[in-house]
Amino acid sequence: MSDLYLVFKNLTRAKLRLFLTLFATFIAFMVYALLTAFQSFLNSGVDLAADDRLVVLNKINFTQPLPIAYVNRVRALENVIDVVHLNWFGGYYQDPQKMVVTMAVDPESFLRVFNEYVMPETEKAAWVKNRQGLIVGKKAAELYGWQVGDRIPLNSNIFSQTDGRTDWDFDIVSIYTGEDEQTDTTSLYFHYDYFNETQSFGRGMIGWMGVRTDDPGNNEKVISSIDSLFQNTQYETESMPEAVFNKAFIEQIGNIGLIISSVVLAAFFIILVIVGNSMVLAIRERTREIGVMKTLGFRSPRIFRMVLAESLLIALIGGLLGLAAARGIIYMLSQSSTPIPTLIIDQSIVLKAVGIMIVMGLVTGIIPAINALRLNIITSFSRT
């Protein structure tokens, strides 16, 4: 028998209370892990954004087009290394309810500007060569069961072909992966030329541009050059670093970070109250036993540590189970037929969660532990 054994026996003596306390902690940490993973995914657009990449949009808003002629004019500017143009296709595969992020791009410049997409050189070459070539993210391919060599139709809910069809045929030439685990692999990219030649309206227009600069330190200068270049034209531009664009895009639906932080804080506050109250009651019920232990010769600091260990164990067991459950949920979601973002509970989330568990264990245990520390033997026998 050891002190840890005593802690364990005390912990498990009221099984229903233990279960409910653990369950509350479990839920709080599961919610924390899922929301933090989601927040991390949202932030990944900002975190993974290249420092030397700019986004150039129509100044009115990003749904308004720009003339394709802008591409070469931007490319000619000082400190600009490369430019790619992108068009939102509004694609879906078979089911109009299930959108597939699909964009028309210039393959060669796309591969140079967005070098975080990983695929074999042979497949890159095949894509450039095949006007109907389509590159598909790994996650999208897994979701729809696509393979290289498949010929698939994709519909647009915005555009149509000159003959009225809303579907375009594509050859899948590559299934790309991401340089980073959180790199988006749910998107599809195809030739702008193929799109531009066949679409019934909007020819010669592009959605936005991705611009690579020679040095992040020159970003401001390039932004200023681009926006000045098109000032007072029919299509004025607004340029910004990619990270700023991604952040603004996310914040369109509100301050997600604040919402998530508020939910997580509320969950933890409730847990602190529940577990703290439960611990205070548990120790109060054991007043006489603590008095007996002190009478036998157990020193107060030792009892203090045992009580704290109890609350720490509750937080750690419940919390780690919550993290495991969150991982399980993310795994199950990734196996489902719904296209969901790549949520990852990485080491930093786990470490932060363990830190919170320790703090929570200490906070919920400190009052009963101090009560036990201060408990006078004579009082303990007269109180119960």
Partner: protein, 231 residues
């Protein structure tokens, strides 16, 4: 102090402040307990029996006076030192057994041994011997809730004995038991005193329980009213 004297209280005063009132429980109390003694302390409620027992057990300190145990001062020890002193020298037996409900009999008996440097194997051996002594070896795996009052008190005696303390302090050890079981418990205490020369101090209301002791002191209003009653 004679070598035979285990415990000595010299001019011990104990007073409490309750509200604006100062209550003096003992005023210049003197007593000696010899090694191998089995002393019963009797007296009406409020006479100071429990306060005296608490002082003897080192869970309460005198307001003034000197308390000497086995040649060393106890009244000058800090709270932490007193805890260690209790663990090394005193075995406690309570009226309501005060066993840990989540531990079985063997684990309850082992509890004081966690305060020693004994290894697990030695601890188990001592626990088995203590349970054997109180004839409860076959109940080692039972929890307090699965045992009768008498059996629980025997486990409590084994717990008090297991670390081989110099003094056993018993607070109404039979107060919660029927006559027959009470006699069994008192018989065990008597055996510990006569056969194993354990020094025992027992607080009791029960004159019949006091008959098992070697001598009885009567306490009234903080004073021993009858010096000694040899039984």
């Amino acid at each position: 102090m004679s070598d035979d004297v285990l415990y000595k209280l010299t001019n011990v005063t104990k007073s409490f402040v309750k509200g604006k009132e100062k209550i003096t429980v003992f005023d210049n109390l003197n007593m000696e307990i010899e090694r191998g003694d089995f002393l019963a302390i009797m007296g009406p409620s409020g006479s100071g029996k429990t306060t005296l027992l608490n002082m003897l057990g080192g869970v309460d300190q005198p307001t003034s006076g000197e308390v000497t145990f086995d040649g060393g001062r106890v009244d000058t020890l800090s709270e932490g030192q007193l805890a260690g002193w209790r663990a090394n020298n005193i075995g406690f037996i309570f009226q309501f057994y005060n066993l840990m409900p989540m531990l079985n009999a063997a684990r309850n008996v082992e509890l004081p041994l966690l305060l020693t440097k004994l290894k697990s194997k030695e601890r188990k051996r001592n626990v088995a011997a203590a349970l054997e002594l109180v004839s409860l070896a076959d109940r080692a795996g039972h929890k307090p809730g699965e045992m009768s009052g008498g059996q629980q008190q025997r486990v409590a005696i084994a717990r008090a004995l297991v670390s081989d303390p110099k003094l056993l302090l018993c607070d109404e050890p039979t107060g919660d038991l029927d006559r027959e079981t009470a006699d069994e418990i008192l018989g065990i205490l008597q055996l510990l005193n006569t056969k194993f020369n354990k020094t025992i101090v027992m607080v009791t209301h029960d004159p019949r329980a006091a008959e098992f002791a070697k001598r009885t002191l009567h306490l009234d209003k903080g004073e021993f009213v009858e010096k000694e009653l040899v039984t």
